[in-house]
Each structure stands twice: as structure tokens, then as C-alpha cells.
């Protein structure tokens, strides 16, 4: 049985990764799960310098979901390399580094730094964080800027480039196509959906940042539709994510057209989720006599 898939030149032993921002820098989960069973580890977004992040409260739980506005707190490139890379580089599975910046030049500089580091599996360009005033989503909701970011990173690295797209657009196809045309190797679909909650007793927003990004099982149907649309628009592989908590959820993404998937918010409440998804995928393939996982990709039948 073959579960391996390719993202650009990168081979994943299975299609199950984790979503950036829900898995720290990998080491945190190593006491609870065997990271080497995963398709890849994807780290939290890193920009050039350290980032303090937003004030608290930063998260609020809603029906079947979570709104967050962490604000990409992080150690910056140097802090990351010093504190977290020694652990990640010893893993047997690829480490995908999620990067962001406030300018096109900063994205390219961070990409260059990780290219020079050696041993990185792929770079994921975060152009879609809803919780950052400068940078973040502005690059993911403007086709021209998106092309510039991807193009600038493409110039400085041969590493597989993955662009993480925003769901907050009228149609995702132009963005998917623009990223592909600018030279990126894969798409991550989707980032969190902009959202808000209010405490009716105090009339105050639930988050200090006022608005945040919605994740968790409640966004899955939105993500499935976006993956399906993007898959029709581009030839490059898609990593599907949004509310996955079981193998059935993951299979839905594959059928919609994703080549790989990422478990996100579920890591917070059930650290075993990604491993359970892998086991469930194998079982589904066995039961349905599927030899190669690639048979599932894009296999949804929309005709009558």
C-alpha cells in the first residue's frame, strides 16, 4: 500500500501533516506522540525578528470552533535556529518552515536565511494571517502582491515553496493561479476565517484584538469547497486543512482534490489526532482495496 505523496521535490511518507501554529516547533509534542510517524512537521510562522504577539485574551472557544488572535508571537529567525532547529533537524521527517514578513523584501530575506540553513524540507509562505496589521493577509488578498511575494522567494531558494492562501476572497482560483504562475510548488488551503465574538454582559469583544481567525471543525465545509475550487484551477498539489479531526475528514479533503492534509486545532485538544488520521487512512484504503493513496485525490464525483 502506498501512502507517500510529493510536494514539489519533497516526498512525504504519508499525506498527514500538521497546520502551522497548532504544533509549536515540534519538540513540545514529542513527549506525547512519535513525530517520525507524521508526513511532515510544520512549525509556527517565523519572521526575521522576534514578535511579542497580541495582548490577552487571545483565544475564545465557540460552537465546534476556536477564534484566535495570537499575533504570530515568535522568536524570529535567529532565535528559532538557536532554540528549535537543533531538535527539528534530527527528525526523520521533513520540517516545513512557515515564514512571513511585513514587506516583500522581508519574505525573501527570511526565505534566503532558511535556504542557507540547509536541511529544511520546504517553506510555507504565510500570506493569510488575519491577526497581523502589517503583512499577513494583505499579501494573500491582493493578486499582484501575492505574485510579488512568491516570485521574490522563488528567486532566492530552490526549496519547495508552499503558499498558504486566505479563505477571505470572493474566488480562490485567481489566487491559486497567481501563486502557481509565480513559481510556487504547492498551496496550503486554508488559513483561518476572520471572525469575532462579543461578551453580552460586558459588551466587550471576547478577544483583546477584537477580531480573530476561526478554526476547528466548524470551518471544514468551507475549506473543502475552497480546495475543490482551487484543485480545478491549478496543477500544483494542495495541502488541505480546516477542522480535520478524523480520517474521514482527511479523506474528504483528498477527494476534493488535496494531495496532503494538515491537522490543526485538533492538536490542541487531542494530540493523537494526526496519528489516528494516518491509521484510519490505512484502514479505509484496506477496506476499499485502494493500493495507492493517489487514487483518492480529486476522486469526488460531481457529475449526475
Amino acid at each position: 500500500m502506498n501512502l507517500s505523496v510529493k510536494i514539489g521535490t519533497l516526498t512525504l511518507q504519508n499525506p498527514v501533516t500538521v497546520a502551522s501554529g497548532t504544533f509549536g516547533y515540534g519538540a513540545e509534542y514529542s513527549q506525547l506522540i512519535d513525530l517520525n510517524q507524521l508526513g511532515a512537521v510544520v512549525v509556527k510562522g517565523i519572521r526575521l525578528g522576534p514578535v511579542r504577539g497580541n495582548p490577552t485574551p487571545r483565544t475564545f472557544e465557540v460552537t465546534s470552533g476556536l477564534i484566535n488572535a495570537i499575533g504570530l508571537q515568535g522568536p524570529g529567525v535567529d532565535g528559532f535556529i538557536r532554540k528549535f532547529w537543533p531538535f527539528l533537524k534530527e527528525l526523520k521527517v521533513p520540517a516545513i518552515i512557515n515564514i512571513w514578513g511585513t514587506t516583500v523584501e522581508e519574505y525573501a530575506e527570511v526565505a534566503r536565511r532558511f535556504d542557507a540553513l540547509g536541511g529544511v524540507g520546504a517553506l510555507e509562505l504565510n500570506v493569510s494571517c488575519p491577526n497581523i496589521k502589517e503583512g499577513g493577509a494583505q499579501f494573500g488578498t491582493d493578486v499582484k502582491l501575492l505574485s510579488q511575494v512568491v516570485g521574490a522567494c522563488r528567486k532566492v531558494t530552490e526549496l519547495p515553496l508552499i503558499t498558504k492562501l486566505s479563505p477571505n476572497v470572493v474566488s480562490i482560483a485567481p489566487y491559486a493561479k497567481a501563486a502557481e504562475a509565480a513559481g510556487c510548488d504547492a498551496l496550503s488551503i486554508m488559513n483561518s476565517f476572520p471572525a469575532m465574538a462579543i461578551d453580552i454582559k460586558t459588551r466587550r469583544p471576547r478577544l483583546a484584538n477584537v477580531t480573530g481567525g476561526l478554526t476547528g471543525p466548524c470551518i471544514k465545509p468551507i475549506a473543502i469547497k475552497l480546495v475543490w475550487e482551487a484543485a480545478k484551477a491549478v496543477k500544483i498539489p494542495i495541502i488541505g486543512m480546516g477542522g480535520i479531526q478524523s480520517a474521514a475528514d482527511a479523506i474528504e479533503f483528498l477527494m476534493a482534490g488535496a494531495t496532503a492534509v494538515a491537522v490543526g486545532t485538533a492538536n490542541f485538544y487531542e494530540p493523537q489526532t494526526a496519528l489516528q488520521v494516518i491509521a484510519g487512512l490505512r484502514q479505509f484504503m484496506q477496506q476499499n482495496r485502494i493500493q495507492d493513496l493517489r487514487e483518492l485525490i480529486g476522486s469526488v464525483q460531481t457529475g449526475k
Partner: protein, 261 residues
């Protein structure tokens, strides 16, 4: 840290909105240090996703207990669970209190409401007995007073409505004691934020060491989501550190109180 499915041994109402949960958790219980917590997945809770963090109250062999107050959907569902039912626990988590040495500063414990629960193991494992200051709004908020006395500690109770112990705030009782004997004390505190801030102020005023257990909305509990951050001094300013990992217990002098909520 270990993730384990555990069985409920008992889950009884203690008083008012307070419950005492005992579970069999043989892989977790022996590892627990005072001030650490367990992150509990309440399996019957369907539409609410996250685990709920609870201070570990008592440990006995392979069992551990939690003292909780029903304050929302999660704790209400938990309060209806019966012996034999299962929960998923990750624990023990966080950086707890420093157990006092046999001689030296006298430990003074300061608790607000069910903050008492986080201090029990510290009182039990401390070779030195000191004084526990416990405060609450009214009599029903004063928990496990007798269990601390049974450990040989002096317990001083304050309630805001005067229905039990002295009338006033727990930090007022602490201030009276510190004025009486200002030196050679170390403070350990767990309770609501305004109380912790007041303890931090008193510790600074009397130049006493203090350890405080800080609380913030928690997500994953193991350090990845960065939801539960608190401001901690760093260099000339401060940075956000994780209550679930670097905390929940911090040296009061390290907390950037001006930036704390």
C-alpha cells in the same frame, strides 16, 4: 507529561458550586509536583472542543483529585459525570511551586476561593508548617479548611461578607500578619488576578520572596498555542511567557505586573 484515559472514582458536590473529582491515573499521579495541573478532556462535551485545565488538589498512590467550581458548560457537564465514566487527562503539566526547605523562611500560603486546591500538595510536602490565609466572598467559598489544619498548618479565614472568619480581604489579613512580623517569610499564592497583584505588591513592599500561580485562558496546555501568555520581565522590558509551560507558578519579582491584567 503523559496522556492517559482515566476512570472516575468519585465526583461529589463539596459545597455550593464546588465539586471534588477523584480519578485513577496511575501514570500521572506519582509524577505530580505541587502547583502543577492536569488538562482534562471532558469526553461527553461535544461542541466545546478544548480541554479544561485544573490544579491538581491531592494525590494518593495511583489516584489524584481535583477541586472545581461549576462556572461554565465544561464544568457543568463534568459535574454530571458518574463513577466509572472516563476522562482523558494530560498531566502533570506546568512549572509548580518550590517546596520550602526544612529551615529558613516560614511559608505563608495565600489562597482565594478554590485557589486553595493548588496549594494543598505544597502544604503537605513542606517540611515546615506555616500559615494558610484563605479568603472568599462568603462562607461557601472557603474550601478544605479542615484538611489544611489536619496537616498541622494554622488556617486564617477571611470572607468579604463576614459570614465566616474575619470580615475583609485575604490580603488584608496577610498585611496584618506581615506588619506583626515582617521578615523571614516566603509567600505562595493562588487565586484571582487582583488578589495575586495585591500579594505581588505586599511582597515588594516587605521585600519578601513570593511565588504566584497565574491564570490565563488556556488552549493546548502544553506550550504550542500561545493562548495563555503572561507578561514576564526580560531585559529592559517584558515578554510574553506561557502560563502552561514556564508557569503557572512564577517568581513574583519576575512578573511585569504593570502589564498584567
Amino acid at each position: 507529561m503523559v496522556e492517559q484515559t482515566v476512570q472516575i472514582i468519585s465526583n461529589e458536590r463539596e459545597a455550593d458550586l464546588y465539586y471534588r473529582l477523584v480519578v485513577r491515573a496511575p501514570e500521572i499521579a506519582p509524577l505530580v509536583q505541587p502547583g502543577q495541573f492536569a488538562h482534562v478532556r471532558i469526553l461527553p462535551l461535544r461542541e466545546a472542543l478544548l480541554r479544561r485545565p485544573f490544579s491538581i488538589f491531592q494525590v494518593s498512590g495511583s489516584t489524584l483529585s481535583i477541586l472545581y467550581k461549576t462556572i461554565g458548560k465544561g464544568t457543568e457537564v463534568l459535574s454530571r459525570m458518574r463513577p466509572g465514566e472516563e476522562l482523558s487527562l494530560i498531566g502533570p503539566l506546568g512549572h509548580g511551586f518550590t517546596v520550602p526547605p526544612p529551615s529558613g523562611e516560614t511559608p505563608l500560603l495565600v489562597a482565594g476561593g478554590y485557589g486553595m486546591a493548588a496549594l494543598y500538595l505544597l502544604a503537605q510536602r513542606s517540611p515546615q508548617k506555616g500559615i494558610v490565609f484563605v479568603g472568599g466572598r462568603r462562607r461557601a467559598d472557603i474550601l478544605c479548611e479542615e484538611e489544611f489544619r489536619a496537616l498541622g498548618w494554622e488556617v486564617r479565614v477571611t470572607t468579604e461578607d463576614g459570614s465566616h472568619g474575619e470580615k475583609g480581604l485575604v490580603t488584608e489579613a496577610l498585611l496584618t500578619e506581615l506588619k506583626r512580623r515582617p521578615a523571614g517569610r516566603k509567600l505562595f499564592a493562588c487565586g484571582p488576578s487582583p488578589m495575586l497583584k495585591a500579594v505581588g505588591r505586599l511582597a515588594a513592599e516587605f521585600d519578601l520572596p513570593a511565588e504566584v500561580s497565574l491564570d490565563e485562558h488556556m488552549g493546548c496546555g502544553i506550550g504550542v498555542c500561545l493562548a495563555c501568555v503572561v507578561p514576564i520581565k526580560a531585559g529592559d522590558g517584558w515578554e510574553y511567557q506561557r502560563a502552561c509551560t514556564e508557569g503557572p507558578v512564577f517568581d513574583s519579582r519576575q512578573v511585569a505586573w504593570e502589564a498584567a491584567k
